[in-house]
Symmetry: C2
Subunit: 86 residues, 2 copies
């Protein structure tokens, strides 16, 4: 399946989520990840997120059965084309 994940966490904790989610998905914008993921890996991500998140923080995961059901357009400067993009 194809997912888009968006996190909203305390500024000093973004690195933690960046490093974690990067193991499963592609970092495409400041707090946005996307990519193909297996059911097993998604369960792993969910379990880990539940233990990582603190009060007031959230991650939204949008799931589509396949990438064919979503089209994606970037307006402005695509961060992934910037070599400085972490």
């Amino acid at each position: 399946m194809y997912v888009v994940a968006v996190y909203d966490v305390e500024a000093d904790r973004t690195r933690l989520f960046l490093n974690f989610l990067r193991r499963y998905l592609t970092h495409v914008q400041n707090s946005v990840f996307e990519g193909e993921i297996t059911d097993g890996d998604l369960e792993e991500v969910k379990g880990q997120l539940d233990s990582m998140l603190e009060p007031g923080e959230s991650v939204i995961v949008y799931r589509m059965s396949s990438e064919q059901y979503v089209s994606r357009t970037v307006y402005g400067d695509d961060p992934t084309e910037d070599s400085q993009f972490l």
Copy 2:
């Protein structure tokens, strides 16, 4: 169609995008909007974004032909349940 829009703009300009996107979509997380939108309104949004965005800023729009193709899960505290959520 159903869209998810995520913006990454300078901190002092988020209000501008928040107020603009709120006219078309539902604010669901810090820099995330989603909802049903007509082709006409999406064209309007695109045109406006192109003129609003400055170098280094971006908005990603994920389009699905219908909400039935996407399922959404919130981990942690869902911002929309927080009465303080702007």
